[in-house]
């Protein structure tokens, strides 16, 4: 016999779909099938069932081989490393629940760490822009029910957020959007001919790295002022036309991704895109939203936002929170040699950071907490496997539109495995003992 668990939340991407159905064995120990999820989401669930999954921590030996250790030994190792560091980097936090992020923040505070999340190589630049000029925001529900002009700028949801278009942005029929796809005009701005561009009404094939200029040109076009003949490889007639399409909508939503956040100008691109959105509100209703990648990167920004006042790159070394991307961001810290130990949880910098930074991590005392074996666990001294959040343990996560959603536990973790939160709690207690607090 099997049971079906409904309304399961997918802990993979920032779309945080909450309509999955998961079939589990009667004893709740095995996950058998996943329905409604996209391929990458289903994969995440099925991964937890891998035969060769690690269930105990292991320590890298001098000769590069691994030795199994107990959770207690792993807790001791982690606590000693963090407590004896002058400036530890605690990175990741995007693929775990807010509860674990909260305990992690407490550890960061008493050890004087720099807390950084994956926004640092992703949407951190968006967060800088939001702080600089604010953001007209909305929820995905509003998008589904109201948006009739949908812009995808430098993002490709067809691959990175597969169900985004069908659940919220292009295809669904909502309260005021009864015609679904037919009632919406989709504009894609991307130098590449992506699969998302293929379903667009308008594709502006922008010259690489000229987003800031094109956004500025749109603002000029809204005002009906003169433009140069070609901006960012796009003839001015097309820019005026796109400006008209946007102004004539009832509700404009601009989604943007790493194509703009990590290309030339970074935060300035987003700053200008927000200004475009603000300008559009003179004519109609408009909002803008980052396509956040990891399922709970938004949550770690929210947790640190209320604990420290800043959403990423928070330097707690002097006992108060400082934030200055360019200085307190992981890659700058690693490149410049500003930290003396690295703790990673819920992310894989080994796969996403530049090689030089990964090399730095491998040279420092380092601990990685991750259910999977990843390029990061391969270079860290200690690897602590844990239960899968959203599969084997629930907890709070924030969707890309800042809506908190409680994820669900659907199966039991393998016997004796700890969760992120449990492990961090124990490390925190031990650090307090070491520091005599």
């Amino acid at each position: 016999m099997t049971k079906t668990v409904t309304d399961v939340v997918c802990p993979f991407c920032g779309t945080l779909c909450d309509d999955l159905e998961v079939v589990v064995s009667d004893d709740g120990k095995q996950l058998l099938e996943v329905y409604n999820a996209c391929a990458i989401g289903a994969e995440k669930f099925l991964h937890s069932q891998a035969e060769d999954r690690l269930t105990r921590p292991r320590l890298q030996q001098e000769d590069g081989s691994w030795k199994d250790v107990t959770y207690d030994e792993a807790i001791e190792y982690t606590a000693q490393m963090l407590a004896s560091s002058t400036k530890p980097l605690m990175y990741g936090w995007s693929s775990t629940n807010c509860e674990a992020q909260g305990v992690g923040s407490e550890i960061g505070e008493i050890t004087g760490a720099v807390m950084d999340n994956t926004a640092t190589v992703c949407h951190g630049t968006s967060l800088i822009a939001v702080q600089d000029i604010g953001i007209p925001h909305c929820t995905l529900g509003e998008v589904k029910n109201r948006a009739d002009r949908v812009v995808f700028w430098g993002c490709n949801p067809a691959h990175a957020h597969p169900r985004h278009m069908s659940r919220y942005s292009i295809f669904p029929r909502g309260f005021f959007t009864g015609k679904g796809h037919k009632g919406r005009k989709v504009i894609v701005i991307d130098p590449r001919k992506t699969d998302t561009a293929n379903v667009a009404d308008v594709h502006l094939q922008i010259e690489q790295g000229r987003d800031y200029e094109l956004l500025d040109a749109l603002r000029v076009a809204f005002k009906g002022l003169p433009l140069p003949d070609v901006v960012a490889g796009i003839p001015k007639e097309q820019i005026y036309e796109a400006a008209e399409v946007l102004k004539s909508g009832r509700f404009v939503i601009i989604f943007f991704g790493m194509g703009v956040t990590q290309s030339l100008g970074k935060n300035h691109n987003i700053d200008e895109a927000i200004a475009v959105t603000r300008d559009l509100n003179e004519y109609t209703k408009a909002a803008i939203m980052p396509m956040r990648g990891h399922y709970n990167v938004t949550g770690s920004g929210a947790v640190w936002g209320w604990q420290f006042g800043f959403p990423f790159a928070v330097d707690l070394s002097r006992g108060f929170a400082r934030y200055n991307p360019g200085e307190t961001t992981s890659n700058d810290l690693l490149r410049r040699g500003e930290v003396d130990s690295v703790f990673v949880l819920g992310s894989d910098p080994g796969a996403h950071f530049p090689f030089s930074s990964v090399k730095k991590i491998s040279e420092l005392p380092s601990v990685c907490i991750d259910p999977h074996q990843t390029p990061t666990t391969a270079v860290c001294k200690l690897h602590v496997p844990v239960a899968f959040v959203g599969v084997e343990i629930g907890g709070c996560a924030y969707r890309m539109d800042n809506v908190p959603i409680e994820t669900r536990k659907v199966v039991e973790a393998p016997e004796g495995m700890m969760t992120d939160e449990e492990f961090l709690e124990k490390v925190l207690v031990r650090i307090k003992e070491i520091k005599g607090e």
């Binding site: 002058t86 040109a217 005002k223 140069p228 070394s317 991307p325 040699g337």
Partner: protein, 266 residues
Amino acid sequence: METVTLTIKNQPSLYLEADNISPDAFAGKSAENIAALHAYEGNTQTTLGDHFEISGKGGATATETRIIVNGDVSKVKYIGMKMTGGEIVVNGNPDMYVGAWMQGGKITVKGNVDAFAGTGMKGGEIVIDGDAGNYLGAAYRGDWRGMQGGKITVKGNAGSDIGTFMNGGEIVIGGDVDVHVATHAEGGKIVVKGNAKSRVGGQMVEGEIIVFGDIEVMMPGFIYRKDVDLEVDGISARFALYEGDIGERHRKRKGEVIYGKLYQKY
């Protein structure tokens, strides 16, 4: 004028935050008292004496105090932070935040500076013989007030994001600059003697930019108005005057819209 000389003897293992290296902190203090002033390395408090050989003494006030810093200070941050008067001469390449939030006095660097020099500067003068990093004279994160007064002169090149949110003061770059010059500026003046790349004056509200060399990509929001003759830093020449960023908000004075001004030398 009294002089205090600091010579680095012990390098920090990571980086040293030495915001106490300023005439304001040194004024009225003996070498011994100065050696006891705090510095920070990560979460650990140290003293200036742990890292520097210190001789001389501070003057009665900041204005009467000169500081000379010698040695490899490429891992020392915040030199001259918030200083209100006096003088600092750095014989080396200091790290970030040289003269950040400076209000008065003068800093001379006989080398290069890293990022964030002159952040939120209000007054005084910074002269850099070598190159400057990114965010020269810009606003601190989230602040809408970048450089508000004073003067920064860089003899070499400067990085990106110079004068972001600037609303007063002057920056003169002898060489080239990277992308984003005077973004969001609401005032002030930036002179670039060499070439600029792109995003010059993006989202600019008011202020002046003068470029002697090329601008690789002009912002679409800048329009050519007319030719003008100007004298800049003792050089008289003919410049093309552009106004912008016309996509951005602008106030009116006597019924006329005020734009940022961008002059490019012929």
